[in-house]
Symmetry: D2
Subunit: 341 residues, 4 copies
């Protein structure tokens, strides 16, 4: 951490700051410049509240040199984290396909789609039981029943299941779910993150619409600080001025996350672009960029899906994509892993 | 709602769509253009899922003509909502000053600041008991104890109190709080909003960092749909590319919200700019723009505040601001309302 | 400037860097930390290319401590710049009203509006002769003739005139214009800025739609580096995700610019919000925020304006605004200056 | 185009609007709704100024149904445009590699890099002669001499050359250049675009930092409206809140542009991410997404490049990338085209 002092700072206040830092076992190197004095801090500064220092009268600016996250940091954990759920592996050279409808709508619907996903090479079934909807007047999900239907679909197809939690009070219902998803709108629901840190279940953590990559890693850190190291990061589009796609898929987060963190990174092209016919090319791009998997909306009747039909592809299109991915992935040194049939 | 069909749409599918809309008592006017056909829908379309229609094979685009919110809409409620808490009124020509520290840190701290806020013309004491912090290693608030201390400060000063809820499970602790704040990161925590809709307490709803004005109104609608009409909207800066200020204060939301909604609008310049020395001018600007109040961070020792000291002004600065506001507000037809002493 | 070196940097390369910096008369302070080594540079680093250093194999990051602009910097020029054009002053406590149509459309139109602007308290007449239009099929301005008509309007009303230049080749036509405007799309047309630096005419420099405040100051620096110190900065809305207004008016740039620069700052609420009925409140907010003036679109027949009618207010509305401003400005210590009648 | 009228509009004004539209040979279909009346316009509305209608007192909103661009529109030109420069083809299944330094720095430098680019599979040499730099104190390019050196490099290597124009006055110097680049900052320099429309040289049009995809197509339309159909579109990153990369590479523009336009689309990953070590994976992603080529910064001595060294890769890295691309492209049905050796 580097602290830039204002011109002619009060010497007593400077001393007080230095003593306070010294109490935290931080060494201070003072550089007297022509216009300003800079303090270089040496030691573990992850516990120092940068805002607190910025507030001091004598301080012009503070700049952090080291990342404020540790457990999610590749510097302290050089090897890729691989998350194992039965015979399915996520991360470390494996490429994982998660697919399914936006919402679980009925027993018939979810079983039918699950069979299609399994038959076309998917590994994990996605499907919303609790649905975050912008309008209070829109369909809010089958809730507990939706989770039961997912479990039934797993039983029949062997697919693992991932579904979104919206509130701590629902946690009990997720006991038999394989991966708990934290949606973009809850990425900074810190109370929920802390609670999930006490679990040992894999967490699929979606990046918030306007969250930086560093904030995504800080939210992963929240979960990991509780002892749960099984975090999967997920990019699903960020909010920008462009309106041709629903959000802007930030694929360059892949090399950035791969460099700074050891956690698996999956891409959700469906929510990012919001238009079914753009999902295919962005899925190939995500694979080529070095991601560890995809989470894609697939629906056997997109035109009658209860939500987000516009971005769902058909099972046939999903099969075609999986087949093309199995050609492309070896070029970038990835393998599509166990398929379900 | 206007539906633009693709060129040469399948006539059977068009008929199916028309019948489906007719079942919802919606009249359809068909306009056959040279390149595309447009369906104009007449009737109450607020229950029609726009995404569902967009997903249809025969549809090129759908455009909504009416706002998707009702209870928050000025069209159906032309007069300003005024929220009354004892002798304090929010909205409808009154200008309300909410002030206090980012966090409640200790009994001594909050009592001292509360006295200062009351003495300098504030109406409502703000102070965080539960703190959303980006880093799991930062101070997380005094929680239940923080709320008790706020209540004690109210008893002594007569100020009303507002503090932030972070999770449904905390709701019971807020029984004796005057206004419950929903923070920017929870603006789309829909489970929480639904729960708050069952309450009758005033809710201060902060706009999310990357939420549109319409999304803010939809979140207000969530609370109001449950029967709680006491919603106060709060702009606290949106996330943009600019880094000179922490966020970008979107003051033009004031005339937009005043036109489209009847709810009171308060501005939080402290979180928006993130720098204490810019708070004064942005507070005056907010008042001139037509807002109904301010929520400002005030700390008697900003340099040692446990969080966000950088954006806190001193009680003296707050007093100077309140005094200047009492000069400026009459120019725009507002009155600063009852002061506490 | 602070340079963070990578772990275990090649010592020869470090020496080469140090020698290269020493040649530029920069002192180097080395801080050896537990994980990284930091070089603190002391001296005039404004000539050091930060990207060049960032490219070095041994460098992890570089952070600039001082602003990269000098002539526009208040540190080296503490007093407000006041630009004088005849009896009109811009900056330094004066509040200047610039108003007029988006485009000069005809002799009759511009004379009529000019009379209205003068009668209602305006100081400077704005009007586009060269028009930047997104579509090649839209009206492109009266060009040379437009400037002649502005000059005629000045003759009759005594108002000063400001109009936009779009290309260096048009410069000759601006010889008799009082203020040359550089539009948002040309803020980083560096060849044009250099050419305007050779002039001594006041330049109204509009902030680009996605330009940071620092980039705006760097563009001012381009003009000033050529010797033309008469730069007026203008905020006219930045591009964000919000669509309720055309752009987002970033009023917090006012205290930021006032702190970092000595140049006058005027606000263009018309282009920022893009909706006539929001101009009034944002104009009052801009005045309260501490800006030095407004540039507002006024049209006597907004419904038939050839461009941007949606954001133009009528002369009557402008008169009402000017009158309200003359009440508000004394509260913030500004005076509306000479009025035209 | 669809016009939404306000409640109870003045019937005379409505008639005037209808007559005015009828004069432009536009048919009007009126839909009377419960709350508002909608006019559906049928005919060629590309000449109707949408802002003009929005300004009318009786109008609540206007929505455009058809894209405002024609010559760049795939609807009127279903087949891919293929641009041919000697033996090099751009678009239509060919994948083109453009590579070279940010700036032409010296005869030795550009010849050396040109040989490396040719030997490693590049087709077109890029290199800046005129350099848009944010700071007036930074290197501004070799200008005319730079173009001469590029021509010499073409002579020796057979590579075609592309370089950026910054002002109309420089046009003569570009007579012997193969492709003229319009930089992101000049994407809406309409005077320049009009002038380039008179040329028949291929134009590489870079998307502005905060320009929408539609605005990019409108700028292409400016050039094409002048008769120059040889436009190559280039995405080079847009400005967002994320700071981990210099800009955010919007790869989803590829399927959007491919659907709406017939023009070739190339990607500039170097400027988008701004960090050399992220260029490789984003190049592969761009190829997988369906783009028609890449423009990449390559420098034989990135650490001493005069500008933007941080984002330049070495010739060896470029060779490795070209080789990997020749594996990947056949998977997506593209061929890397003629290589230079």
């Amino acid at each position: 951490m580097v602290i830039v002092l204002k011109e002619n700072p009060n010497p007593q206040q400077v001393n007080r700051l230095k003593n306070w830092l010294a109490e935290m076992n931080i060494d201070i190197h003072t550089i007297v410049g022509t216009q300003s004095t800079v303090l270089g801090l040496v030691g573990d500064t992850s516990g120092v509240d940068i805002e607190l220092i910025r507030a001091l009268d004598i301080v012009e600016d503070v700049k952090r040199i080291q990342e404020p996250f540790k457990r999610a940091n590749r510097k302290f954990h050089p090897l890729d984290t691989v998350i194992t759920i039965g015979d399915t592996k996520i991360g470390g050279g494996n490429f994982t396909l998660m697919a399914g409808p936006c919402s679980v709508e009925s027993r018939e619907q979810i079983l039918s789609i699950a069979r299609d996903v399994a038959a076309n090479g998917g590994h994990i079934l996605r499907g919303g039981a609790f649905k975050p909807r912008t309008s209070p007047y829109a369909f809010q999900g089958l809730r507990g029943l939706g989770i039961e239907l997912l479990i039934e679909a797993r039983k029949e197809t062997g697919l693992k299941i991932v579904t979104e939690i919206m509130d701590i009070s629902q946690l009990e219902l997720f006991n038999d779910v394989d991966i708990i998803q934290v949606g973009a709108r809850n990425m900074q629901n810190f109370e929920l993150l802390k609670e999930l840190g006490k679990s040992r279940k894999p967490i699929l953590l979606k990046r918030g619409l306007s969250s930086t990559i560093q904030e995504l890693l800080m939210s992963a850190e929240y979960i990991m600080a509780g002892g749960n190291e099984n975090v999967i990061l997920c990019e699903r589009g960020i909010r920008t001025f462009e309106t041709a796609t629903r959000n802007t898929l930030d694929l360059s987060c892949v090399p950035v996350l791969k460099e700074t963190s050891h956690l698996p990174v999956v891409i959700d092209p469906s929510h990012a672009v919001g238009v079914a016919r753009y999902v295919y090319s962005m899925s190939l791009a995500a694979a080529a960029a070095g991601s560890d998997g995809l989470i894609i909306e697939v629906h056997n009747d997109p035109a009658h899906a209860m939500c987000d039909g516009a971005q769902s592809i058909t099972p046939e299109a999903f099969g075609g994509l999986a087949s093309k991915l199995s050609e492309l992935l070896p070029v970038v040194g990835k393998s599509i892993g166990k398929t379900q049939n």
